[in-house]
């Protein structure tokens, strides 16, 4: 019951966030110098042709009218057509989204699988070989730029030892190397946080109680401390997933993957305003949804959060 109240309050906040972002996107696009109609029509277009495009884009109307039209579009989830290809913006986004989604999920899975066990072991066996290995991995993982790692992975595992395909997309095999190169940097962050969080929890008083109750060391660490230690880890992991769902521009470029990142990048180069507007709102919605899910998950695991 309390959870339901909490969830509906968070849902309200989610809708408010989306409204605010739509508003900000609308005005930012209008503040940026340059008339989209000029871009679309080209340098040599006549005044009439430009005017016709303005009418088509709706930019001839007063700002207030444009704003309400825009909000109506957001509500219907219809962001018009791309100025370049003429396809619906959402059609374009949804063509690319499955690839970005699989890449992000795979990337986050790889980072969780590496980071959480290693982080926990580092904390439990502090100053051991495991801990040093974990810290070294974390330092290196954070320092390596993901494009360099991507190129190295390609050189070694696709060129020298051709286990993985060099480029292309369509199957999970194509996604493994990009997911690793995305996942390593995230793993480094999540590992540090897991280790720090676990060390902190192990020093809490309730751990003394757990030992005083005669529980086994395993129960003390992996039931009592770990459940508390994972709370901040879940939040950070959710945020990382949110970032990755917005498209990984560099990684997609290195591995020539047609994901959201490249779609938006092209849109920006080509001043494809409907695409940019739609894309930003789409990413914002995805990000908010992830945050919403994380909040709900967090409150299930940490009941204290529900009473605010």
């Amino acid at each position: 019951m309390k959870l339901l109240v909490f969830a509906s309050r968070r849902l309200g906040r989610l809708l408010l966030t989306i409204f605010l972002i739509s508003t900000i996107v609308f005005f930012v696009i209008r503040i940026i110098p340059g008339d989209p109609a000029l871009v679309v029509a080209g340098m040599d277009a006549t005044e009439e042709a430009i005017e016709a495009i303005r009418i088509k884009l709706g930019t001839d109307q007063p700002l207030a009218a444009q704003y309400f039209q825009w909000l109506w579009k957001v509500v219907r989830f219809d962001f018009g057509e791309s100025l370049i290809s003429g396809q619906g913006v959402m059609d374009l986004v949804f063509q690319r989204f499955p690839l970005t989604l699989s890449l992000a999920v795979l990337g986050i899975l790889i980072s969780i699988v590496i980071a959480i066990p290693l982080g926990v072991i580092s904390a439990v066996k502090r100053w051991s070989a495991w801990d040093y290995a974990g810290m070294a991995f974390s330092q290196i993982g954070m320092a390596i730029p993901s494009f360099w790692l991507g190129i190295m992975l390609l050189l070694i595992l696709a060129v020298k030892i051709p286990i993985f395909p060099l480029f292309g997309s369509g199957s999970i095999v194509h996604l493994i190397l990009p997911a690793i190169s995305l996942g390593i940097a995230r793993a480094a962050i999540i590992l540090r946080l897991t280790r720090a969080s676990m060390i902190e929890e192990l020093s809490k008083e309730y751990v003394i109680t757990a030992r005083a109750k005669g529980l086994t060391e395993r129960m003390v660490k992996y039931k009592h401390a770990l459940k508390n230690a994972l709370l901040p880890v879940i939040t950070i992991t959710g945020i990382q997933l949110g970032y990755m769902l917005g498209g990984a521009i560099i990684t997609e470029q290195v591995f020539s993957l047609p994901g959201l990142g490249r779609l938006f990048l092209t849109g920006i180069y080509q001043r494809d305003f409907p695409l940019i507007q739609g894309g930003v709102v789409f990413v914002a919605i995805i990000f908010s949804l992830i945050n919403f899910t994380v909040d709900i998950l967090y409150s299930v695991l940490n009941p204290r959060i529900r009473i605010e």
């Binding site: 109680t209 005083a212 005669g214 086994t216 508390n228």
Partner: protein, 347 residues
């Protein structure tokens, strides 16, 4: 209730009788130090302490005097290192806990010797349901089925005076008030029918009105489970309220120990006498509150001779040279002071 194998083993050993079978817990000459970067801290300097079945033994002293180290050491939860147990014995039903393996000690913790801590808000796990925190002990120590354990947990919560036990079981500690949390902690401590309950300042974090309720609950449970209780506190009034026997600890040494009434009416050690004079008293309203000058020495810098001599109004030359021996002065009344029978404090 079925006792675990370890418990049987421990009981079996006591049969061939090393000590008095009444003596549930005997701490003998326990000496504990901590190896710190800034030097060696002498936390316990050979303390003796006994807890009999059904007895509440109050251990009273200022903060830093070694009360909590004593309880932590009896529980077997001292971090070694930095802690070091130099010598001594902790006999539980006649067998030395310090000689047991970690697994054997773990089986005694919570099952045979349980503890209630000072601040329930910090000492309860915020992320586990109240029911789980109790039933996990029942399932582990008594090998109960989950359903049976839940039933038992509910009975225990009723026993410690909590309302709506079903709802509390499926809730979390943060939903309980301070007093209720301490009741839950007590329910958890007694859930496996332990022989000894260590109560480490269990009322210090609570309001005065709640303190009395919790003290009554501990008395009631002592009778119900026939437990020996080691009651640790800095509060003489609370100790007077609850204890059968009282020991006063100063700088890691028991300076005086006697039956409650004897200790409060005829204290022998000047430290005990000064402590009793420092209790605010309605009859002495308007007078200046007496305080003991100076403070408890650091465990790294314990004075030569009697550790209390720098603060003692009766101190003579011998007090700074020789550690006073603990001597018995009347039935079970022991004290360690050179000046007993020679000088006393005029109140």
């Amino acid at each position: 209730m079925v006792k675990s194998d370890t418990a049987k083993a421990v009981e079996g050993e006591s049969m061939d009788g090393r000590g008095n079978s009444e003596q549930l817990l005997q701490v003998w000459n326990l000496d504990v130090s901590f190896e710190l970067e800034r030097g060696t801290a002498r936390a316990l300097r050979g303390i003796d302490l006994t807890v009999e079945t059904g007895e509440i033994h109050g251990l009273v002293g200022e903060s830093g005097s070694g009360k909590t180290v004593t309880s932590t050491c009896v529980m077997g939860l001292l971090p070694v290192p930095p802690a070091r147990i130099n010598h001594g014995q902790i006999l539980y039903k006649g067998s030395d806990l310090l000689k047991l393996s970690e697994t054997e000690r773990r089986r005694i913790r919570g099952r045979e010797i349980a503890v209630v801590f000072q601040e329930p808000a910090k000492y309860l796990n915020p992320a586990l349901r109240v029911g789980e925190q109790i039933t996990e002990m029942l399932c582990l120590h008594l090998e109960m089925e989950r359903d049976r354990a839940t039933e038992r947990a509910q009975e225990l919560l009723e026993l410690v005076g909590l309302p709506n036990t079903r709802r509390i079981l499926s809730g979390y500690p943060h939903e309980l008030s301070g007093g209720m949390k301490q009741r839950m902690m007590i329910a958890m401590a007694v859930c496996c029918d332990p022989s000894i309950l260590i109560a480490d300042e269990p009322t210090t974090a609570l309001d005065v009105t709640l303190q009395l309720q919790i003290l009554k609950l501990i008395l009631q449970l002592r009778d119900r489970f026939a437990m020996g209780v080691l009651f640790i506190s800095h509060d003489l009034a609370v100790v007077h309220e609850i204890s059968d026997r009282v020991s006063v600890i100063y700088a890691g040494k028991i300076v005086e120990s006697a039956d409650r009434d004897r200790l409060f009416n005829e204290p022998l050690h000047p430290y005990t006498q000064l402590l009793l004079l420092s209790i605010p008293d309605a009859e002495k309203r308007g007078q200046r509150l007496k305080v003991i000058p100076g403070r408890v020495p650091d465990a790294e810098h314990i004075p030569e001779g009697c550790a209390f001599h720098p603060r003692c109004p009766l101190a003579e030359k011998i007090c700074s040279q020789e550690v006073p021996a603990t001597a018995e002065h009347a039935g079970g009344h022991t004290a360690a002071c050179h000046m007993i029978g020679k000088k006393w404090i005029n109140s």
